[in-house]
């Protein structure tokens, strides 16, 4: 075919115009981009400070609730969100904070760490909240930590965790390792358990916890007979159950998370292992999880927390009553929920002592703040921004509730880096 056909001659013409337009567009884009940057460089400093500053002008103040309402973590985090809302309602009913009502802004972290960072940014910059409550997994906390630090805004984190962290803008109201894992080991030791097997999900908390356990065991004459990790969400535990059984350990230390616990305990029972022959101490199984695994498989097994629904005391009776009244009689209360509930009251007390919502002033006022929490009296340690907590070992009953069988007697001073324990010196 000759190239003189109509199609091809206009082909050339079109190319020509395309070049021209493209060149024009590129030049325009470049100019616009440069000018946009130039302008922003001058203005940015002022405007961004203003944007990040919390809004305390009206007669309400906003706080952020940052929890996974969808995805795999929603199971646990929704309960935390519910108990945060309960605390806020109670505070508003009794007059609010510094005369201002609290307005909660709830955001969904969607069990996805970058989403947590995004939503934290939104709460601080768009909603201009005075403080944020929430996060559950270590990964989500690590993801938002720089956001709160960058914007100098406060996060209250309500879940037991692996320690080794002190962020100036986070208050940790769950247990650190020396308030949960170390006491649990003390308990096992006092019960005469000489050898243990470690089972955990493959993520930061179990791996760090097991590092601490191994150091403790070495210093205390206990043997660690095995250590196994299953990918998060893994539900095939027959091999691990075989390994545990073959090890003939005195006890199992379980740091599995979520769905994996269900499969693990079903397999554990099928293998003929019982709470009598080889007790399992779990640090991630609270009342809610007992409900979903079934006491058929769990009765007699041990847990380590700072609070149970059955914890005695006036404050807890009222908390449980209020929670069930609001969310249903069949809804149990658990440690992270209690820590979340407590965190709101602690924040209120700090604000009132500081007479300001300003994060810097709130931080400065935090040391020594106390609150009669459902778990008992808690005190804020201003230096580490953790709180003093009592450790409690519980036994799961056939009714699905957890009965306390041991406690540490007094609230333990938080020590996230385990500086007070000589055996832990090589850990970090």
């Amino acid at each position: 075919m000759s190239s003189g056909s109509s199609g091809f001659s206009s082909f050339k013409g079109s190319r020509f115009s395309r070049r021209r337009v493209t060149a024009g567009a590129a030049a325009l884009a470049a100019v616009v981009a440069l000018s946009a940057c130039g302008a922003k460089t001058d203005a940015a400093g002022g405007s961004s400070d203003k944007a990040a500053k919390a809004d305390t002008s009206g007669d309400t103040v906003k706080v952020g609730l940052l929890n996974s309402l969808s995805g795999t973590m929603a199971i646990s985090e929704v309960t935390v969100r519910d108990s945060l809302k309960l605390a806020i309602e109670e505070i508003n009913a009794s007059g609010g904070v510094l005369g201002k009502k609290i307005k909660p802004i709830s955001e969904d972290g969607a069990s996805d760490w970058p989403t947590f960072a995004e939503k934290a940014n939104k709460l601080i910059k768009e909603d201009r909240v005075v403080a944020t409550f929430g996060c559950w997994t270590s990964a989500s906390r690590k993801a938002v930590k720089p956001v709160f630090e960058k914007n100098k805004s406060l996060l209250f984190y309500p879940v037991q965790y692996e320690g080794l962290e002190e962020s100036p803008y986070i208050f940790y109201t769950g247990a650190t390792t020396n308030q949960q894992i170390v006491p649990a080991l003390d308990y096992l030791k006092s019960e005469g358990k000489k050898s243990i097997y470690l089972v955990g999900s493959d993520y930061v908390f179990p791996r760090t916890a097991n590092k601490i356990i191994k150091a403790y065991a070495k210093a205390n004459g206990m043997k660690v007979l095995g250590e196994d990790y299953a990918p998060l969400g893994s539900t095939e535990f027959s091999t691990i159950a075989n390994k545990v059984k073959a090890s003939k350990a005195d006890a199992v230390f379980n740091t599995l998370n979520g769905d994996s616990n269900v499969a693990f305990f079903k397999e554990y029972k099928s293998a003929g292992l019982t709470a009598k022959s080889m007790p399992v101490v779990s640090v991630s199984i609270a009342e809610e999880e007992v409900k979903s695994i079934g006491s058929q498989y769990l009765a007699g097994q041990l847990t380590a927390w700072n609070y149970y629904q059955t914890t005695t005391g006036e404050a807890n009776t009222e908390f449980v009553k209020a929670y069930k009244a609001k969310y249903g009689q069949d809804k149990p209360t658990s440690d992270p929920m209690e820590a979340a509930y407590t965190s709101v009251y602690l924040w209120k007390a700090m604000v009132e002592k500081a007479k300001s919502f300003d994060p810097e002033k709130v931080k400065a006022a935090s040391d020594g703040i106390t609150f009669d929490a459902p778990e008992g009296k808690v005190t804020v340690d201003g230096a580490s921004q953790h709180i003093y907590k009592t450790a409690r070992i519980g036994k799961i009953g056939s009714d699905g509730l957890i009965e306390q069988v041991w406690d540490s007697g007094k609230a333990i001073k938080p020590d996230p880096y385990l500086k007070g324990y000589s055996w832990a010196s090589g850990l970090s």
């Binding site: 075919m1 000759s2 190239s3 199609g7 091809f8």
Partner: protein, 258 residues
């Protein structure tokens, strides 16, 4: 165009899971022939072509212009100058006629040419458009072509591919009488400087255009020769109807394969 080459098949054997589809075929196609392969369903015609083009594994020997084809990959065999079509016209429906031909012409193109846009119409593509009579439709998507036009496009693709051996599987199935005539004349022209092998059921078409015929039956070559010789062969008559006349056999043969 390079010199004409012929096809030399010796003791070709293809079996699938115990079933032998081609059972020791010897076949010679001399350079520049217009050979028709006929035979009842399941005779092994398409499998034979599959074996030659590397689609199925086979034993024996297939020499083309003196080079062994067996054991080589499909695209490798294609590059040595052998092209084929399929029972159902297989063109790239979402590309235009021009694009189809351009792709067929370009197996040997270098990286840089491939990554640039096509500018103008390559000479061989232009010639093929004229040869197969699709110049008017160059910019239409191939999917919008009529059935016969697709078959011609396929033949055109083989032409620009510059193959020396064309293996055509039922190229006139579903065509009108005029289209068949045109196709036949096209094949005659093509076979002036290429070797052509056609699998066909249409006996009229075969009689009009075949220079030589091979009859396959049950995986073997039953008969070979000119149209007249083959029609007169009692073995062929026996295969097709046992006793009946050739005329009847042709009726049967004219039924298109499902």
């Amino acid at each position: 165009m390079s010199e004409l080459s012929g096809l030399e098949i010796r003791q070709l054997r293809v079996s699938f899971d115990g079933f032998t589809a081609v059972d020791g075929v010897d076949l010679d196609v001399r350079p520049g022939d217009l050979r028709f392969l006929i035979g009842p369903n399941g005779a092994g015609k398409t499998t034979l072509v599959d074996a030659v083009t590397g689609l199925v594994k086979a034993e024996g020997s297939v020499l083309f212009g003196g080079d062994e084809l067996l054991g080589r990959s499909v695209h490798n065999i294609a590059r040595s100058g052998i092209g084929r079509t399929f029972q159902t016209a297989t063109v790239f429906e979402e590309l235009t006629v021009l694009q189809n031909l351009d792709i067929a012409a370009g197996a040997g193109r270098g990286m840089l040419t491939m990554l640039r846009r096509r500018k103008g119409v390559p000479e061989s593509v232009g010639r093929a458009l004229e040869t197969v009579g699709l110049a008017e439709l160059a910019d239409s998507p191939a999917g919008t072509l009529a059935h016969g036009q697709k078959q011609w496009l396929e033949i055109g693709m083989l032409l620009v591919q510059d193959v020396r051996l064309l293996l055509l599987d039922e190229p006139v199935a579903g065509m009108s009488h005029d289209e068949r005539q045109a196709t036949g004349e096209l094949l005659e022209r093509i076979s002036e400087d290429r070797t052509v092998v056609v699998i066909e059921h249409d006996m009229d078409f075969m009689r009009s255009f075949a220079r030589s015929v091979s009859v396959l039956h049950a995986g073997k070559v039953l008969s070979e020769g000119t149209v007249t010789e083959v029609q007169a062969d009692p073995k062929v008559q026996a295969v097709y109807l046992g006793h009946a006349a050739v005329q009847d056999a042709e009726l049967i043969l004219a039924e298109p394969e499902a």
